[in-house]
């Protein structure tokens, strides 16, 4: 009679560390934060450089911020396809003054508060906050710019925890300046001058070393920060239609969303990436997607308003018609269109800012 061999039951605790790590790497980034509470080892692991690097390079969340921090913001995770609330009430400001969230980079949001109702005449206070770590920092007044035209926050350096905020605005002598704030020196410094250009709105994006914004004449202004060179790029034309341009910044780079309107209603939508060609030292348009007619019709029906807003979140571009509770998402890498689950019925969210929010695993500062 042969020996009875008992099969040893493998336990999860038998799993070698590196295999456990492999499993944890496959988790949605949301879990990187929640599972720190499991034990000391996991807390250290999820705070490590390795997991931070995964978090930094993963698909960002979408954050919806109402203009009063008394109301919670909404956070959408593309991993779990769910919404969460997150409070920004740690930022102090007068209830009557709206807070506008304008920029996002490396898990930090740039906002302006105390804008007062005389927008353009008084200098708003700029604020940088980290919603996930509930920290904020109020920036000191700029040295040279007295009227802000546009602003942006730049991504944190790879090795440092330093961030930069850039502002384009008018000096008291009517020159258009670029002023930069460094979080380490906690000071503003003039970083360049920009030829007299009328910027259409406050949205400015930093992408691949340059700042981009839409000019009043409907073109794109690209300012190479290091070289101090400004380039004006005209919008692409489509069948002699004029396109209403909106800029979004996403994973692949700067994208221009061109809405084709007819009789005050959206007829079509095309997206182009603005690519810089080193050889000719100029920008070229590369079409990256088009809204199919069926989707366009659904989008028109989602709201009575003709206006819409769009934002780049990682490799996705989100669209929302004004006064609509529905968000349409274009996945750039898959070239697919999808509607997000409706977020809420609360109409107070109807006019709000929305931005990508990169979960940075160990970014605790502000």
């Amino acid at each position: 009679m042969g020996k009875l061999r008992l099969r040893k039951q493998t336990m999860w605790s038998d799993l070698p560390e590196y295999l456990m790590e492999r499993i944890l790497e496959c988790l949605p980034v949301d879990c990187f934060f929640r599972f720190r509470a499991v034990c000391n080892t996991w807390n250290t692991l999820f705070s490590s450089q390795h997991f931070n690097s995964i978090a930094r390079n993963s698909q960002p969340f979408l954050i919806l911020c109402p203009s009063s921090t008394q109301m919670p913001s909404l956070l959408y995770s593309f991993f779990t396809h769910t919404w969460r609330t997150i409070s920004l009430s740690f930022i102090p400001h007068e209830c009557q003054c709206p807070i506008n969230f304008r920029g996002s980079a490396s898990g930090l949001l740039l906002a302006d508060i105390n804008a007062n109702f005389c927008f353009g005449y008084s200098s708003p206070t700029l604020c940088v906050c980290n919603p996930l770590s509930q920290m904020y920092s109020l920036l000191p007044e700029m040295g040279s710019v007295s009227r802000i035209m546009a602003k942006a926050i730049l991504p944190v350096g790879d090795k440092t925890n330093e961030y930069t905020v850039m502002v384009v605005g008018m000096s008291s002598t009517d020159r258009v300046l670029l002023e930069a704030y460094n979080s380490t020196t906690k000071a503003w410094k003039v970083a360049g001058t920009i030829p007299d250009v009328h910027i259409r709105n406050e949205n400015m994006f930093f992408c691949k070393g340059s700042l981009f914004c839409v000019t009043a004449s409907g073109g794109i202004m690209a300012y190479n920060v290091e070289q101090g060179i400004t380039t004006i790029v005209s919008m692409p034309t489509v069948d002699a239609h004029n396109l209403w341009a909106r800029l979004v910044c996403c994973k692949i780079g700067l994208v221009v969303v061109g809405a084709i309107e007819e009789n005050h209603s959206l007829k079509g939508l095309i997206m182009w990436e603005l690519v810089f060609h080193e050889m000719v030292k100029d920008y070229k348009w590369v079409e990256i997607g088009k809204m199919p007619n069926s989707v366009c019709e659904e989008f028109r029906r989602s709201s009575n308003s003709n206006w819409f807003d769009c934002v780049g979140v990682g490799d996705k571009i989100c669209f929302r018609a004004n006064e609509s509770m529905l968000i349409l998402v274009y996945d750039v890498s898959r070239a697919s269109w999808n509607w997000l689950a409706k977020f809420c019925e609360d109409l107070r969210f109807v006019s709000m800012g929305w931005l990508p929010l990169q979960p940075m695993s160990n970014l605790k500062f502000c």
Partner: protein, 159 residues
């Protein structure tokens, strides 16, 4: 050059399995071994893999031999999901260890992702139970972590 020979594998509980060469070399370890020894009649001993698990591994490898060239990516994914769907925790763990031991990269990826998918919605206390992890955080330390990452512990909002 596709070898026509058969390869014999012996599980830890002495069962013999015969597979095509192309199936066997999905395992990096076997690929290396066969590269040195060539096709022999003797069975290659796999001390760390039981017959129950080896059978499953072979199932996987047999499907994947042709998968990349003849079957669409979408269908392969669907097959993979079916393959892991009803596996219990213990089998999944054994499969992961076997995939790692044999150097079958895509099976290792699949099992890791499956485990991750099964635990992603769990609370920390559930995780400890599943993986038999001792909570070595003091109540204060745990509270601090929960506060610092409050948003991640928030209940999800549905419309």
């Amino acid at each position: 050059m596709v070898k026509e020979c058969k390869v014999k594998l012996k599980s830890s509980d002495d069962k013999i399995f015969e597979v095509d060469y192309a199936v066997a070399i999905q395992s990096q370890i076997l690929n290396n071994t066969l590269g040195h020894t060539g096709c022999t009649d003797s069975a290659l001993p796999l001390h760390n893999v039981s017959s129950q698990i080896l059978a499953k591994v072979i199932d996987y490898c047999e499907y994947h031999v042709n998968a990349s060239s003849t079957i669409s990516e979408k269908d392969v994914k669907m097959w993979d999901q079916e393959f892991v769907k009803h596996l219990d925790q213990a089998t999944l763990l054994d499969l992961l260890m076997a995939a790692q031991y044999l150097g079958i990269h895509n099976l290792q990826e699949l099992t890791c992702q499956t485990v991750a998918d099964r635990i992603k919605d769990k609370r920390p206390e559930d995780i400890r139970e599943i993986f038999n992890i001792q909570n070595d955080l003091t109540p204060e330390e745990e509270e601090e972590i929960r506060c610092e990452n409050e948003w991640a512990f928030e209940e999800e909002v549905s419309p």
